[in-house]
């Protein structure tokens, strides 16, 4: 299982370090930071709740999730007689953490090639994520095969090939406009014959509202099952951290068609917080697996709920 494999990688800057680095780059003024600390001992008033609400809304949690979280918080704060802002914030973090934790799922054990299908709307960073994932797996000495099943977008195959060269992963491809399921079929057969550890499948970006493109994904999962029983073992929905409330609908419809098992939240090195994943965890029970925090090949990290929640308030 890919999650557990990350345990053996060499110790690099931690998720929190990277997040901090990213956050510093947002050039939050020092003044704001000091205000933050000063607020720690402030008494709770109407403004406090308004500010917390603003923080959650600004992070794209959405009004429904924000409302629920704050409702719970109010109840608990009353119950525990919370007196100052610092404690209230800690309680709020607990609340968010509980939502994210409840969506986490234990890793499955997989015999034979593990098939990872990567899906998402256009421009979220699927190909880049695949490149980084291949890099991580290769660094652990695993064999990886990349299936270039995005036969639609101009130069998508070439883009994946660059990543193949970089990471030493072979790319199985067809000509532009070819049948994605056929590429997948070939890749899985090759992987089974060669006993490759991982097959990562790149798919064309598609809006979740395009029925015919979504049924193409259904067909691909059926094809995968036929060649490798139990495949695809992971279906990763790549989502851009700048995505707003439409992210929920994306997760819902991609899960319907392709059986999404987890989210990769990309572009967290910008100023967007990606809070829609909290709403996704709450409503759909989908876990976040990885986060993308930069353009270098090592910039894909396993998701850490605690660090993520901390970053919402950083």
């Amino acid at each position: 299982m890919i999650q557990t494999l990350f345990g053996s990688t060499e110790v690099k800057p931690t998720f929190l370090d990277r997040m901090k680095e990213a956050v510093t780059r947002t050039r939050e003024s020092l003044g704001e930071r000091i205000d933050e600390i000063a607020s720690w001992n402030k008494q709770i008033d109407r403004n406090t709740l308004d500010e917390l609400e603003a923080t959650l809304l600004a992070s794209d949690l959405g009004s429904a999730t924000t409302g629920q979280v704050l409702g719970n918080l109010r109840e608990k704060a009353d119950h525990k007689q919370i007196g100052n802002v610092g404690e209230l914030k800690r309680l709020l973090k607990e609340e968010l953490l509980a939502i994210l934790k409840s969506a986490e799922r234990p890793a499955k054990r997989v015999e034979g090639p593990e098939v990872i299908l990567v899906v998402g709307v256009n421009g979220t960073g699927k190909t880049t994520t695949i490149g980084k994932l291949a890099h991580t797996l290769r660094a652990q000495g695993k064999t990886v095969l990349l299936a270039a099943a995005d036969t639609f977008r101009a130069a998508a195959i070439e883009q994946l090939e660059v990543w193949g060269d970089r990471t030493g992963a072979e790319v199985i491809k067809t000509k532009p406009g070819g049948d994605p399921s056929a590429v997948l079929f070939d890749a899985l057969q090759a992987a089974s014959a060669r006993k490759t550890d991982y097959v990562i499948v790149d798919t064309a970006g598609r809006l979740h509202t395009k029925t015919n493109l979504m049924s193409e994904l259904e067909k691909m999962t059926r094809t995968a099952q036929r060649v490798v029983p139990g495949a695809p073992h992971e279906v990763l929905l790549v989502m851009d951290a700048t995505t707003g409330q439409n992210g929920l609908q994306q997760a819902r419809l991609f899960t319907q068609s392709a059986g999404v098992t987890g989210i990769v939240l990309t572009k967290l090195d910008g100023t967007a917080k990606g809070g829609v994943v909290v709403a996704i965890s709450r409503e759909l029970g989908l876990p976040v697996r990885y986060v993308g925090v930069g353009e270098k090949q090592g910039d894909l990290l396993p998701f850490n709920a605690q660090d993520f929640v901390d970053s919402l308030f950083a």
Binding site: A154, E158, Q159, T242, G270, A272
Partner: protein
């Protein structure tokens, strides 16, 4: 999934009847609903607050009109307010002394390269001679992508030469920006535009984060070098709250001249449009509405207002429908179909005739909300070409009465006969039958109550 804002407001106002004026108290709930609707649509929360305050001010003290329900009255104020922010008119592209330079800017994955291609195609149709160039030396195969796009639309491209292997991002080390290379490509492309008599140069740039100082500086030096007439910020319609941050920063550094909102063919409500317009003050000039290269349209502010509110332009659609459509016929139709009595090809033809009175199918669909019960209809309509309507009617005309009631009897030889009779091909007949089957299925699920009473009450005939 989204309840129509108007319905919510209607409910919020149900106790208001008989009251003379709109007051702080009686519009409170309505404004709360409005706030939620705007937040769900991804309008930035600060912008929402401003808006709500402004709307409250405007609404307070207004007399409850007799002609409009209080809900309609507030909706009208809201719409007017949003349209005022977005600007009333469709913004045009500016041209200067040739070559006019259009610089594309934006975050990674917003759709700059695809939009560059679409823009070139749009300009070509308008009689211009665009030249494309990609100065994205960073993303693997980015320049290759624009080349393929240019070939597909038959537009000129300046390819230039770059040692991509040494430059592309994604290695193990962070690389310094290659501003010199980027500038060289841009300079060469402009010379090429002059030499080959192209009047517009479209410069596709690498996606960059607004907080990446080095790459933002590169953008500034490109601007200085090319002195572009247009700097278009390409933004994803699905963007959430962060839209204000990126748009603001890009605008501060580059003084944007316009915005292109991409991926509008999805079901995102597009509240980012309001946020971006609010922080930059620059008009949205185009929207991207599909993956094909002609799927770029000028932006109509009034249309997106309906979409953000989840209402579509349904008011004007209803008006139009009431004017043009035979009420009795459509009521009969709704009753019959929704009762589950089936939907024959005769009904199909009748609906086509009614709909033709309303104008083109795509124009009708555009007036509908893109969410809720209407989402399904848009999908069916997506597969429809307006010019086909005439031929579709011809095909149905060429069927026997029995065939129209029992499409399953139409076998291969009947299809051939129908195709001959209507001057079409068997493929087209097949296609029609497929589409018909799709619609039949859709109506069947509506009858089973998938569609709520709103639709039934709405009495839109068919499509």
């Amino acid at each position: 999934m989204f309840e129509n804002l108007q319905d919510k407001l209607q409910r919020a106002f149900k106790n208001l009847r008989g009251q003379g004026t709109l007051t702080e108290e009686n519009i409170g709930e309505a404004l709360r609903e409005l706030r939620l609707a705007l937040l769900e649509a991804d309008v930035n929360f600060k912008v929402v607050k401003e808006l709500i305050d402004h709307i409250r001010e405007k609404a307070l003290g207004q007399e409850v009109m007799t002609a409009l329900s209080p809900a309609d009255q507030v909706v009208k104020i809201v719409r007017d307010e949003l349209v005022a922010i977005l600007g009333k008119d469709t913004a045009k592209l500016k041209f200067g002394t040739p070559p006019t330079v259009v610089l594309m800017a934006g975050l990674q994955g917003s759709g700059k390269t695809t939009t560059s291609g679409k823009l070139a195609s749009w300009l070509k149709k308008g009689g211009h001679r665009p030249l494309l160039v990609s100065v994205d030396v960073y993303r693997p195969a980015a320049r290759e992508q624009l080349k393929v796009v240019a070939q597909a639309i038959g537009a000129a491209i300046y390819e230039g030469k770059v040692e991509e292997a040494n430059t592309a991002r994604g290695g193990s080390e962070a690389l310094p920006p290659l501003t010199k290379e980027v500038e060289r490509l841009a300079r060469e492309a402009r010379r090429e535009a002059v030499n080959s008599g192209c009047d517009v140069l479209i410069v596709d740039t690498a996606g960059r984060l607004h907080i990446d100082d080095q790459l933002m500086e590169e953008m500034q030096s490109l601007k200085k070098l090319l002195n572009p007439q247009e700097i278009l910020f390409v933004a994803d319609a699905m963007t959430g709250q962060d839209a204000v941050n990126s748009a603001d920063e890009f605008h501060k550094k580059l003084a944007l001249t316009g915005v292109v909102l991409t991926k509008m063919d999805g079901d995102a409500r597009g509240g980012a449009a309001l946020s971006i317009r609010n922080v930059t003050g620059q008009p949205i000039k185009f929207i991207g509405v599909g993956e094909k290269y002609d799927a770029l349209e000028p932006f109509h502010p009034d249309r997106i207002v309906g979409r953000i509110l989840g209402m579509g332009d349904i008011l004007s659609l209803i008006e139009k429908a009431e004017e043009k459509i035979d009420k009795k016929k459509s009521e009969d139709f709704a009753k019959k179909v929704l009762a589950g009595d089936g939907f024959s090809l005769d009904d199909f033809r009748e609906q086509l005739r009614q709909v033709k009175k309303l104008g083109s199918l795509s124009s009708i669909v555009k007036m509908m909300p893109s969410v809720g019960p209407f989402a399904g209809m848009q999908k069916v309509a997506d597969n429809f070409d307006d010019k086909e309507l005439v031929r579709v009617e011809a095909i149905i005309n060429s069927m026997t009465d029995h065939e129209r009631g029992h499409h399953e009897v139409i076998n291969g030889s009947r299809r051939k006969r129908i195709a001959r009779g209507s001057g079409t091909s068997v493929q087209e007949v097949n296609q029609l039958l497929r589409q018909y089957a799709q619609m039949k299925k859709m109506f069947k699920s509506m009858g089973r109550g998938k569609l709520d009473r709103r639709f039934a009450g709405f009495k839109m005939p068919g499509m």
